[in-house]
Assembly symmetry: C2
Homo-oligomer: 331 residues x 2
Amino acid sequence: MDTSLASSRFSRRFQLATPIALAPMAYAAGGALSAAVARAGGLALVGGGYGELDWLQREFPIALEQGPRERIGVGFITWRLDQDASALDWVLQHKPRAVMLSFGDPRPYVQRIRASGAALICQVQRVDHLPLALEAGAEVVVAQGAEAGGHSVSPLEGRGLMSLVPEMADWLAAHSPDTVLLAAGGVADGRALAALRLLGAEGVLLGTRLWATRESLAAAAAKQHALGLDGDATTRSIVFDALAARKWPDAFEFTRASQNPLVHEWEGRHDALRAAPAALAHYQDGVRSNDFQRAFVTVGEAVGLVRDLPGAEELIARITGEAKRLLGEPG
Amino acid sequence: MDTSLASSRFSRRFQLATPIALAPMAYAAGGALSAAVARAGGLALVGGGYGELDWLQREFPIALEQGPRERIGVGFITWRLDQDASALDWVLQHKPRAVMLSFGDPRPYVQRIRASGAALICQVQRVDHLPLALEAGAEVVVAQGAEAGGHSVSPLEGRGLMSLVPEMADWLAAHSPDTVLLAAGGVADGRALAALRLLGAEGVLLGTRLWATRESLAAAAAKQHALGLDGDATTRSIVFDALAARKWPDAFEFTRASQNPLVHEWEGRHDALRAAPAALAHYQDGVRSNDFQRAFVTVGEAVGLVRDLPGAEELIARITGEAKRLLGEPG
């Protein structure tokens, strides 16, 4: 088995210089970051996120203008499309290379995505999620580990990548060998990229590590705060959504983000928090004043390996080079 | 950086043929399994577990008789030693190569362990656990990922190995470069061993995979049941201890084991379960009749990669060979 980066079926299928994809992080993976990732030879997925049409109409054209369009795609939160799919319909007219769907049933959107010529990428969290992704016709499956930042399944259901990736690789080899497996969660450098190739992934989806770059649209104060965090600093909680006045479907209501005293104060009482205007105002005041004893940053366990805020092209070259050295592969 | 198995500082320090340690699983890692692991060139840690003197007096001599004693050690649950350390004191007279302590403050036991000539191994779950392990003088630190079976920290505090291992490797390189880092959790084959070498671990501690061997003292019906499980089949819960009528300290009261309807029925109501004799009798009846709709098997997420019940020597040769092939290392 050839586990080099060059032999990655993800790289070959999408004609990438390196098997790295930008996670479509809502409000962070904008046009400039996406373009930089695509220029570096990765697959960029603009953060279609909650499906805001105006946000995507601003950011997606920037990605197309500044980056090679053959490596520009987009990602959406599936259950939000069930409420309003206008951003998906708009972006499909602009021929994204791929559309990634996460957190919900992808099947209602498959026909229009494939008709546009885009590849379908589905993110899943457990082995028992694979059959639905394959039924939907996913060309690429992203295994999201419990290490990942942002929304996912509950802490009781989440899987770590160490066994999830080889188990999914074996399952796909037996049931759908053409499907490409990527891994997401906890990946911040070339060590994890190389390790995940050996575990059976064809590449990685980078969230937190690309969130902490110059081009990311995350707030400057949030990026600075993240530089001081170790990987123990995050937790998975429903409180984050309650603070942000968001309500996700029960299956995906847990978010991994940086913990702080406010999150601990409301742990287990998120419904009460939603009905407590003074507490919510106290949180919002913390956000406005960049007080991270109240505000939080939506990052995964990989934040403990983030020690700088480089440009995305430099970062991808660094990660790729380190992985190649570890795999004994010519640069 | 040389990431071969042969260059592992764990192998060199303990003169091992392969950087694999047997996790000291209570009631499963007995004398025969330990001896087999030691004969295969790994470091065997007999499952001193809850500190039952009579169990250890039976199993430890078997390990010494059947395996090379220079690779036979023992492991204990630290908080149990606080109640009764007679098994530790007994075994130290028999010169174990190493003593592993997990789940509690190791410092009260360090002096007698080192005086016996044994190496001290401390298991930790988070980066912020490292300073105490180093203060205790651990020669080896085991990073236990949230993937692991058995007891650990809560699901909100647990870390996946994908970022925990490189983060700990960096921390140790900066603060205590002689300390040897191992990884535990989710490891079932040579892919994970090779991947963890690239992530910065010097070797692995195998639990679930060695639990499912011919020599393991786990019940035959439990091993057979485990063969049919995928990695999604486990969960982390306090209910397991309530069913088994055990009470661990709050910091480590969560166990990862195979879920079933009975565990779900009592989720969130473990205190009520402890006070419900009929429910406990119903569980115990399930254990006696090998009914895994009530009984559970204490395994980690790696169970999804367990497809046979080989002898431990054959298994370790298989894992080592696969890891070497992936690392491009001569067999």
